[in-house]
């Protein structure tokens, strides 16, 4: 089986610091892959390179047969909007918009009409058990609710890959567990692959396999399915 997303010998430096040193990784369609490793190992940098947010100094990132390192900024932004979803540690919701409008935002940017976008967004909020915060602003929701809204926003466009960087890092155990259960179940239902950056083993236990980043290099567990 062909991987959906690959990094080949990717190198990336922040000034004199080599964050990634010839890192390679394969992500298959529909799998949940945990990227583990100590702080500063380069796992978030690798995620940003895979998602086309950072352009590697050398090496190649390929999504669905297309070299995204060679794409124009515009083409890459379009790809991020249509095929990728993102969940970060701190929801990064727009504080001035309601939770429902936050979820609808990526659909609106993709040209979906307001009413249809809100209908689909409401379904996702329901699915993630946060329908009651739809009309509230993110500041009025709890941390756990906010992360579920962020997950709904990542899933609403039905992306093929979701990048999640420490999605439960700011939550307590109980809220973190619930977010992971709902997030992974929903991702599996839509068939999206998930690249999950975490330093917590209990979060990584929701994955199908793991890859460990250490000193900018990747040690990847074989794909077995």
């Amino acid at each position: 089986m062909q991987p959906l997303l690959t990094a080949e010998d990717v190198t990336y430096s922040f000034g004199p610091t080599h964050a990634l040193d010839s890192a390679s990784l394969r992500v298959y369609a529909g799998e949940v892959l945990a990227l583990m490793g100590p702080s500063g190992s380069g796992k978030s940098t690798l995620l940003h390179c895979l998602a086309g947010i950072l352009t590697p100094d050398s090496g190649q990132v390929t999504f669905d047969g297309r070299d995204i390192t060679a794409m124009s900024d515009t083409a890459r932004s379009a790809l991020r909007r249509t095929d990728f979803g993102f969940v970060f540690q701190f929801g990064q919701l727009v504080p001035e918009l309601s939770c429902l409008e936050n979820v609808a935002l990526p659909l609106r940017l993709a040209g979906v009409g307001r009413r249809e976008a809100q209908r689909r967004s409401a379904e996702w909020l329901e699915r993630l058990e946060v329908a009651d915060v739809a009309g509230k602003r993110p500041g009025q929701a709890s941390g756990g609710q906010g992360q579920r809204v962020a997950v709904a926003r990542a899933l609403v466009t039905r992306p093929r890959v979701i990048f999640a960087d420490e999605p439960t890092g700011a939550l307590d155990s109980l809220n973190g567990e619930r977010v992971m259960q709902l997030f992974i179940a929903a991702a599996r239902d839509t068939g999206a692959a998930v690249v999950l950056v975490t330093h917590e083993a209990r979060v990584a236990a929701y994955s199908d396999r793991e890859a460990v980043v250490r000193d900018g290099r990747v040690r990847e567990q074989e794909y077995a399915r």
């Binding site: 100590p38 259960q181 330093h199 917590e200 083993a201 209990r202 990584a204 236990a205 929701y206 994955s207 199908d208 793991e210 460990v212 250490r214 040690r219 567990q221």
Partner: protein, 172 residues
Amino acid sequence: MSVGYAILGLLENGPRHGYDLKRSYDERFGHGRALHYGQVYSTLARLLKNGLVEVESEPGEGPDRKRYAITTAGVTDMEGWLGTPEKPEPYLQSTLYTKVVLALLTGRDAADVLDGQRTEHLRLMRELTRRKTDGDLADQLICDHALFHLEADLRWLELTAARLDQLAARVR
């Protein structure tokens, strides 16, 4: 865990037959490891001898006409047990630590040892996470207990991986 105290605790709400105690025990505490009838009756015999339970015989036919009841001494004993904290396990004799040191001593790749162990730990953690996700509250609590312990092992593993060079310099 002490089967005796579990049985005493189950008797606190009222007298029960041996087979009924076994069924309750398996349901609440068995988790894939059911009690043998022999174990139930030998435990009850010991509790009886120590005056912690007493027998109420019922008239009629059948092999199991004995009902067991907890005594006042049994309740006191149970209270004492609940009120005594368990001794925390220090886990000082770690096979994994020995393996890492031996790998370094013999010039093998100690990181491979740690990586192999991480994969194995995570495999079990995935299994427990699945069981927890599909299970009821009892499953969740039991699996969480195991998951937190496995996570602690993994944290040690990561810390050791980060200190391998230091350890190698000391070992050789």
